[in-house]
Amino acid sequence: MKVGKVTWFAFKNAFRRKIVAILAIVGISIAITMQVTINAFTTGMDETFNDIFGELVGTFQVQEKNTPFTYASQLPANITETIRNFENSSLIETVATEQVLPSTVNNYTDILGTTVFGSPMGMNVRGIENLDDFSKIYSELEELTEESRTFEYNQDECIIPYALYENNSEVFDIGKTFSIKINSTHTYDLEIVGITAAEIGGIQQSIMVTGYDIYVPINVTNNVLAELLRNDTLNYMYHYTPFGLDPNHFGIENPNIVAIRTTIENSEKVNDYIDDLMAYLGEQYPEMEFSALSLASALETMDDLMATQNIVITVVTIVIIISGSMGVIIAQLVGVEGRSKEFAILKATGWKESHIIYSVIIESVTLGVAGSLVGVVLSFMSIKGLERLMASTAAGGMPFIPVITPAIFFTAIAIAVGIGILGGLYPGIRASSVKPMEVLQGS
């Protein structure tokens, strides 16, 4: 059979009976609109989750065990080197070490207001040991505003978040200097050299929402801690004594937290890896206990939810294919009944039954694909409409952006082809079984 010629003939034939074609296209487009819209929403949700958490699957933080606050975690000064010597360190991409100050050493609550939880807003002064390593895990410092630059090591410089600049630009702006208040008599001056436009800052921000993150070179936090230990017994007592920290050894050279990014993409394997690393660190530092914080477990649960969601989508898709096929079958049966003379002629003039079946299926597929394209357009319009509707409500917009990906588009086309084949098969068989003489004798 010359497939191309028959296909083209059938393609044109599909639109000959306009009412039937329109009914079939409308039916399919409604089904496809539903399917594409649901898929677009779930894909948007997936992508949003992946954007936020996906790259964090293989990332985790290590700190001292049983320390309720990051700044109370005292890690060995050489922990970065120790971690790099771990036998499975080939899976480690980056180790980023930080020293974090307690939020109360920078008492700006009068200016900063309160957090979303109603507590006084503070500052998380994050002393970064190596800017390159930090940036490989956290993206905040890669999104600096135009006038910004990164801080220099051994300088008293800092980078502030955009929200802090936006709300308090008279104090917090590039080129301005502000003071960290160590206590009532001692302050530490920092020059603002950069503003980061990033809204969410990786795992740290995802887990801790205590205030504005201020990024400084680690020498700043070293200096502040030294000052704190020398001059601020009260603060020291308040912050560190309850956690059993020795004032003679604590702090100045010791990081509080280590973030590790691995190349592992599976949350279960990440958890196994963390267990192995914790055991290794326990061997290296027998006097210490470590804990790790990761999103892997949460992501595992999320993966389960996504799997359930995929099952629902599959069921919806099957229902759509069945209902769409029924619609096409009915429309095509009506069409075929009305075209019995045509099929009789074709058969009488040498068309084989298979030619007629193929021709009718192609007609159905054509209607299916046309309906699918209309469905995709309708879906796009309905998503945009919903976005506008949501934007005008108190929510102020959607929590995620529905997306029609190429995969969704081609799935819709594949469904349409499936609907066409299923919907055209029976009418095609009916058409091919027409008896030419009975139909065409006329008299």
């Binding site: 000959r16 003039t349 030419p436 003489m437 139909v439 065409l440 004798q441």
Partner: protein, 254 residues
């Protein structure tokens, strides 16, 4: 009564002998029976042991009252219905035992059909309608040329790119005849080809059938109620109650 029967028998003999003398048979029917509702109280004998031979190049009119079996005969000859018993040879091939695929090949290669119900596809041109039977098998340049030539013979040279809605009833039937001929069939089966046409356009169509019979040597079997059809044919056959009751050569046709 007795005289009529003798006369009929003589006529059948004359025609059969004429055909029997020639080895150039294109259709041969031997003891063909067709029963409907077989072995039920409603059993109908549509064909009762028909014997019939057609020589290449004949133009035969099959006539008879409604229900006489003429259309059943045409249907079996057209490979579109099965016989209850008997044999049917089309150009040397016995068709009663063939499967659907082979019957379809016979229809494609040996037989062209012209129906009372013309039916052309309105959305394509007269030329494309003529070429329609070839579509699944491929349409070459020579096929297009042949289709144009057929339309030219049918007097539709200037109408070949028109759609059927722009053609008269007679023109449509002539397009349908061209469509029946596009496969170069040696046989054309026509079922009431003038049934839906007025006398003038009917005459045009019959002239065309006569022309292709004469010029191309195509064998034509036409079923009709129209006695005028017999004037154009070389032989006319009467079927009554499933039996051939008259088979005579038309002495008046050229």
């Amino acid at each position: 009564m007795m005289t009529e029967e003798v006369e009929t028998n003589i006529q059948i003999e004359i025609a059969s002998e004429a055909v029997a003398e020639s080895a150039d048979l294109i259709i041969e029917i031997k003891d063909l029976w067709r029963k409907f509702f077989e072995n039920t109280p409603a059993e109908v004998l549509a064909l009762r042991g028909v014997n019939f031979r057609v020589q290449k190049g004949e133009f035969i009119t099959i006539m008879g009252p409604s229900g006489s079996g003429k259309s059943t005969l045409l249907t079996i000859l057209g490979c579109m219905a099965t016989a209850t018993s008997g044999q049917v040879f089309i150009d040397g091939t016995e068709i009663t035992q063939l499967n659907q695929r082979k019957l379809s090949d016979i229809r494609k290669n040996k037989i062209g059909f012209v129906f009372q119900d013309i039916f052309l596809i309105d959305t394509i041109s007269a030329l494309d309608n003529v070429l329609l039977p070839l579509l699944p098998y491929g349409i070459g340049k020579e096929d297009r040329e042949r289709a144009k030539e057929l339309l030219k013979i049918a007097g539709l040279e200037d109408r070949m790119h028109h759609k059927p809605t722009e053609l008269s009833g007679g023109q449509k039937q002539r397009v349908a005849i061209c469509r029946a001929l596009i496969n170069n069939p040696p046989i054309v089966l026509a079922d009431e080809p003038t049934g839906n046409l007025d006398s003038q356009t009917g005459a045009e169509v019959l002239s065309l059938l006569q022309r292709i019979n004469q010029e191309k040597g195509i064998t034509i079997l036409a079923v009709s109620h129209d006695p005028k059809l017999a004037e154009y044919s070389t032989r006319d056959v009467m079927i009554t109650d499933g039996e051939i009751t008259r088979d005579r050569i038309n002495p008046f046709r050229d």
